[in-house]
């Protein structure tokens, strides 16, 4: 099925015809999957393969080594790569936002039932204070999972704990697990809770393994969550290919936003075996935007440094603990609007 619209004649042909982009199975990989299955990439003259990756660190290394042309990346990842926080520095750009918010905080049924949550407080604070009480009464150190050290899930988990005056470093044990492992690990009792992007939180609830106690959007509403990440050297070498990618993804987003039955069709594509497969079996259509746990996939796709300040501020203490500091120049380079605007022929001065 091809529903992508023909490209404008004025744009230059992409330098690369075939390319491979990495993704991790999450709802906010949807624009990539829609652009491929709906023919939006091919309408731009691109033949894109999507490669499902088992771990964020592997996706990162493959992009840095040039084995992937680009990828669905955690929003802080281009910054972490540029600063060389977990591997050799590799200048990386967030050329476009692929999704905002869409994370849930889930606790095991057992732990959630043990919490005495005050209903007069906002839900993140109410649940965090209830966990504080449990810890004070002698609850064994809970093991909580997030997806990657430089991720919004890690920052959100820390923020949530701080709402209950719980020390993230000493009163809980934080571990990283790839998203598809979360629900099983919770069921097996290997972890007591997690913060992860959809569909894994709703799946935990559907399988009665855990309970969603807050969403990322409760704490950082509309925060940029995933971006299209490419290395700066790749962007320099293939500017027209990057522009074509951005246009195709924008077209996919417009389609998702306006076409009749688009969310249902999108979910059918996501449910194909190479993508999310059975992970979305509990959903009827692609849940977008209407609840705080849902990702925003069709608005705010233009990156802008100011949009990432909140994330950067929360990252700063983590960096400082490792003797590093965040500089504005790197932040502004990573999340510049310039590639996005060039692809859409907009002057860069326009604010989002």
């Amino acid at each position: 099925m091809s529903i992508g619209k023909a490209t404008q004649a004025s744009t230059s042909a992409p330098e690369l015809a075939g390319l491979t982009l990495g993704f991790v199975p999450l709802l906010d990989a949807a624009l990539l999957i829609i652009a491929r299955e709906g023919g939006f990439f091919s309408a731009q003259g691109l033949d894109v393969s999507l490669s499902r990756e088992n771990a964020w660190s592997t996706l990162r290394d493959k992009v840095a080594a040039g084995l992937l042309d680009g990828a669905h990346m955690l929003a802080p990842m281009p910054l972490a790569m540029s600063l060389g926080l977990s591997r050799a520095p590799c200048e990386t750009l967030a050329a476009m936002v692929l999704g905002r918010q869409g994370n849930t905080l889930v606790l095991s049924q057992r732990l959630a039932n043990a919490l005495d949550v005050r209903s007069d407080l906002p839900r993140p604070q109410g649940s965090a204070l209830a966990l504080r009480d449990c810890l004070t009464r002698g609850l064994a150190k809970p093991r909580l999972a997030m997806v990657y050290p430089y991720s919004c899930q890690h920052l959100l988990l820390r923020e949530w704990l701080s709402l209950g005056a719980i020390d993230s470093d000493s009163e809980v044990e934080l571990v990283a697990l790839p998203p598809p492992r979360m629900v099983d690990a919770l069921r097996e009792g290997e972890i007591d809770g997690f913060c992860v992007g959809e569909p894994w939180g709703s799946q935990a609830e559907f399988r009665q393994v855990g309970k969603v106690i807050a969403s990322g959007a409760d704490m950082m509403p509309g925060h940029p969550e995933k971006v299209l990440g490419v290395t700066a050297s790749w962007a320099r070498r293939y500017p027209h290919t990057l522009a074509a990618l951005i246009r195709a993804l924008r077209a996919a987003a417009s389609w998702l936003d306006s076409a009749a039955g688009a969310r249902r069709q999108a979910l059918e594509w996501l449910a194909l075996p190479p993508y999310l497969d059975e992970a979305v079996a509990h959903l009827d259509e692609l849940p977008v935007g209407c609840a705080p746990g849902y990702p925003l996939l069709s608005e705010g796709l233009r990156p802008h440094p100011s949009d990432f300040y909140g994330m950067a501020e929360r990252l700063q203490p983590l960096l400082m603990a490792r003797g590093r500091e965040l500089d504005d120049v790197t932040l502004e380079t990573c999340y510049s609007s310039v590639h996005h605007d060039e692809a859409l022929h907009q002057p860069s001065a326009i604010t989002p």
Partner: protein
């Protein structure tokens, strides 16, 4: 005063591929290293690292455990602080080679790079040898399948053309030459055409 580095490095090997893990373990043990091997993927990776305090962790690039391992380095001070070995930014080729071979390694800070490099090179060589073995196995499997297909096509031809085995084989070979196809491919075409006739009769 810094302790002299021991000759033996303790290596934690995380690999679900049993045969490959055995190959790497053997090669490293022959070089005098102490190998702790982990084949399955329970959530005990944290405990494993804590308990064995390895100097080097070698892990399959495609393993979902990589994120867990990396975060340990950043989150838990009591553990040895692993860093990515291929973080040497002057050598992107070695990263590429390692990624291609499927090897990822983490070492404790301060360990002499050349010593670790030797360990990694052994691992890469074994990973590549294993890939070669797997390719050969696939090839052998394909050849066996080809042979079965050719036998079946010959049988069908013998029956439908009332010819002997030798003539049936020559027919297949001629078809393959005329079409510029592999004989196994022609055999499959023959099966596709004649098999339904067989079942229909």
């Amino acid at each position: 005063m810094p302790m002299p580095e021991p000759d033996t490095l303790s290596v934690l090997l995380v690999d679900d591929e049993i045969v490959r893990a055995a190959m790497v373990e053997e090669a490293l043990a022959n070089d005098g290293h102490r190998v702790v091997c982990r084949l399955s993927s329970p959530a005990s990776l944290n405990d494993m690292v804590r308990q064995h305090q390895p100097d080097v962790v070698i892990i399959d690039m495609e393993s979902p455990d990589r994120d867990t391992l990396e975060s340990m380095a950043l989150l838990q001070r009591e553990n040895p602080r692993p860093v990515v070995f291929f973080a040497d930014q002057h050598d992107p080729q070695s990263l590429k080679a390692a990624v291609k071979a499927g090897v990822s390694a983490y070492v404790v800070d301060g360990l002499a790079a050349n010593r670790v490099k030797a360990v990694i090179e052994v691992a890469i060589a074994r990973f590549e040898a294993f890939q070669g073995m797997r390719r050969d196995l696939d090839k052998a499997r394909n050849q066996l399948a080809d042979r079965k297909r050719i036998e079946q096509a010959k049988g069908l031809l013998m029956k439908h053309q009332s010819c002997d085995e030798e003539q049936a084989y020559r027919m297949l070979r001629k078809l393959a030459m005329d079409r510029g196809q592999r004989i196994a491919q022609v055999a499959q075409n023959v099966i596709d055409i004649l098999k339904p006739l067989e079942q229909g009769s």
